[in-house]
Amino acid sequence: MGMRKLMLVTGLLGLAAALWANPSVSEIIDQVDTHMQLRSDMTAQARITTRDPEQGTKVIDSVYYRRDSDDAFLIVIASPESDRGNGYMRVGDNLWMYKRATRTFTHIGRDEKIGGSNASAGDMETRKFKDLYKASLDATGKEIISEETIGGAKIPVYRVEVTAKVNDVKYPKLVMWVTRDKYLELKRECYSLSGTLMETDLYTSYKDVDGRYVPLLMKFTDEVEKGHTSVLEITGINFSKVDDYKFDKSYLESLSK
């Protein structure tokens, strides 16, 4: 009887330990991918406000379209007037930048900046974290993960560190703060290849839209050139089907007429 009790208690303790154990970094970034996955077409308005101590403030309004079947996207800039009609498009493996003034498409890479802001064309792709990053390991070979709280509201989060698996990402190392309940990313520190903190991103005002969590406000702060910030605000989110013709170059050209 005593032995059985002991085994039962040990088993219960083990179960409790398993239930209370931190998830692994891979599990966390898997969850982040799952929550961020749109699983449908999407249309939204986006406003990027860029502040530069030397060049002042610039506001770019754009419309974002996404086609789920092939992760194609289209960004059409609506303002300012100097950039109106310019666009960025990804179809298949090709990323294009369109300039209304010259009516030309240029083949670009993921690192192309959108309208001079800190956001790049690659940021608009929905590449899965788990395809790009893996858990960073400390000197003992353990994954770097800890429990913390963040912000004035002391939101419980996991702090995880990840390292790029591929070469063509902007930041080879990331430190992420992800909520413990819903695995929503709240903060991200982006490090360069040489380990310098380059940028701090904040993701706030998550909205549950048809079961998907979309951050409506994102702030990107340049940690190298102090004073440079970009704020991305998302409004008018709609998950209904986007017509295929919008992902054709001729559509962008027609907007210039």
Binding site: T106, H107, A164
Partner: protein, 592 residues
């Protein structure tokens, strides 16, 4: 023989007498000849100074600007997989081809550079990082205002950087200060390393001020480049001004850079079975190439269409399939050792077809979907490449190492070519051979424009000299008509009369030219003295260390000298000939 000798002696005596008379006449009409002489001397001075200044500008353009921007001939490789990068993956091989093909090479500069922003003490600025190899002349040729050039690669907490003085001032840093430079690696990864300022170069012009110099190996690592990679090759020749020759050698180099098929000796693994095979990729996006593949591949199982539909697809020869025990649909791992680095490059592939052996390929050969190579080969060239003869029937259906871009004839054509490249969707690598003449034909045209201005100045001055000489001659002849008559009457021949006047002018021209050349030297020395501090002025590129720059060339000076003397001679000859033909009686009767 005696008569000949006597004739020669008599001529020599005659020349001596005529020369004496000519020289005496020069002195006799001193004021008039002085004025003409001054005119010729000043003209010669202007010609020498103008030509030297034009030569100086040409020297600056070709040997101080173009040579660092593009070299005289430049080889670049553009690649696009998920992003554009201008990386030559196998630099030693390209250098070998260049050395075999292009004669008269002074040096080949391997470009390792990055464009970004420098962040100093509270201020930022533009920065073009230039990697300098350890054996470069830069270290002994560069005069620093402060610091030591070799400190660039001295072991320290931060690697060394050398800045131009104005650039350092703009970002509020000095010697031993720390500068952060922000740029992207060749893969687009962010970098922001810190450097210690170990030297300051006196600023020359606003274009050069942007450059900052670091150790090449350090920069290569920061750019995440492999040891054999570079961002371009600038060839410096010893005949930069010979446009035709430079273009000719560039054309030869272009032909020599014809690519092989992209091929790898890869190790295939299927379970516990292993086999090494020559592996190539098929150009499935090219209809012509696809047709060649269809015509030359005999499928036992599967087909080309299945290969095209799967980005991880591969076709095996029967022999290879048997060695691996693989059938269509089998999953294999394909790996190879890259030329640089120790980690093998691995890729999971799916068998989409089995074909009979293809001549002249090895029995164990594989043909992959091009995407397999785009994600592997073009990032990491293999240590053991696989090759096939150019005349193999399937050669044109294979993905090449690179596509060779057509040569451009001028800057406009080169610009259009680059624009077209930006507008097409393509993957893989493209190699371009450029000369400075099409890279910057605007600068070359500017140099030609300068030469034209110089030529116009020469013509104007010769015209001035012509007017002066004609005028002086006519006045002189008019005043000495009776003298001519007297000389003729006492036995002087027409030829001698003519020779007197011609030699007068020739002596004057020679003396004046010599004075003009000496004057030009003085003027150039004086003009080269003042310092011009044109910090943000584009014309600063035309100054060397803030001084006007002259390059007098002996050949040009001699040519101008000979031309002036010849022009003077011809004018004098035809004018004096008329005087020599005057009738003695008419000459003696002449009154002013």
């Amino acid at each position: 023989m005696r008569n000949f000798l006597n004739s020669m002696l008599s001529k020599v005596r005659s020349v001596r007498v005529v020369s004496k008379i000519a020289f005496r006449n020069l002195v006799r009409q001193f004021r008039r000849n002085l004025l003409l002489g001054i005119g010729i001397a000043v003209s010669m001075c202007i010609l020498v100074v103008t030509a030297s200044f034009t030569n100086g500008l040409t020297d600056i353009l070709f040997n101080r600007v173009m040579v660092y921007m593009t070299g005289h001939i430049r080889v670049v490789e553009d690649s696009y997989v998920s992003r554009r990068s201008d990386v030559i993956r196998d630099t030693p091989r390209f250098i070998e081809i260049i050395k075999k093909t292009v004669p008269g090479i002074k040096r080949i500069d391997v470009t390792v550079s990055a464009f970004g922003r420098s962040i100093g003490n509270g201020k930022t600025g533009m920065c073009a990082l230039v990697g300098i190899p350890k054996d470069a002349d830069f270290y002994k040729d560069t005069q620093l205002e402060a610091g030591h050039t070799e400190d660039i690669f001295k072991p320290d907490v931060f690697p060394g950087i050398i800045l131009y003085k104005n650039a350092a001032k703009d970002i509020n840093v000095g010697l031993n200060d720390i500068v952060t430079v922000r740029f992207d690696t060749i893969y687009g990864q962010s970098q922001a390393p810190k450097f210690k300022v170990v030297g300051l170069i006196p600023s020359e012009n606003m274009f050069m001020d942007v450059a900052a110099f670091v150790d090449q190996d350090t920069l290569r690592q920061l750019l995440n480049m492999k040891p054999d990679e570079s961002l371009g090759l600038n060839i410096v020749t010893d005949y930069p001004e010979d446009q035709r020759r430079v273009i000719q050698e560039a054309n030869k180099l272009h032909a020599a850079l014809a690519p092989e098929a992209a091929g790898v000796k890869a190790l295939f693994a299927a379970g516990d079975k292993r086999a090494v095979a020559d592996t190539f990729a098929l150009r499935l996006d090219d209809p012509l190439a696809s047709q060649i593949a269809k015509d030359n591949l005999q499928f036992v199982k599967g087909d080309l269409a299945s290969l095209a539909q799967d980005k991880n697809g591969i076709i095996l020869t029967e022999t290879l399939a048997a060695r691996l025990g693989a059938d269509t649909g089998a999953h294999l791992t394909c790996s190879y050792a890259p030329k640089s680095g120790t980690d093998t490059i691995d890729r999971d592939v799916v068998v989409k077809g089995i074909v009979k052996s293809v001549s002249p390929f090895a029995d164990a050969t594989a043909f992959a979907n091009p995407e397999v190579f785009y994600q592997t080969y073009y990032w990491n060239i293999p240590r053991q490449p696989a090759t096939v003869a150019h005349d193999a029937p399937l050669f044109k259906a294979l993905l090449p190492e690179w596509d060779l871009m057509a040569r451009s004839s001028n800057t406009d054509a080169a610009v259009k070519k680059r624009q077209l490249l930006g507008r097409e969707s393509w993957k893989g690598a493209k190699v371009d051979v450029q000369t400075m003449f099409e890279n910057a034909s605007a600068i070359v045209d500017f140099q030609k424009g300068l030469n034209t201005v110089s030529l116009v100045a020469v013509l104007v001055l010769f015209f001035v000299i012509l007017i002066g000489v004609v005028n002086t001659m006519r006045m002189s002849i008019r005043e000495r008509t009776r003298e001519i008559g007297t000389n003729r009457a006492i036995g002087m021949q027409r030829g001698d009369v003519r020779s007197v006047f011609v030699m007068e002018i020739v002596f004057l021209a020679v003396l004046s030219c010599v004075v003009g050349i000496l004057l030009a030297w003085g003027v150039m020395s004086l003009l080269g003295l003042p310092t011009f501090d044109l910090k943000d002025n584009p014309f600063s590129m035309f100054f060397v260390q803030k001084h006007l720059y002259f390059v007098p060339k002996v050949a040009t000076i001699v040519a101008n000298f000979v031309t002036i003397v010849l022009v003077a001679f011809l004018i004098a000859f035809f004018t004096a000939r008329r005087a020599a033909r005057m009738r003695v009686a008419d000459a003696l009767r002449h009154y002013e």
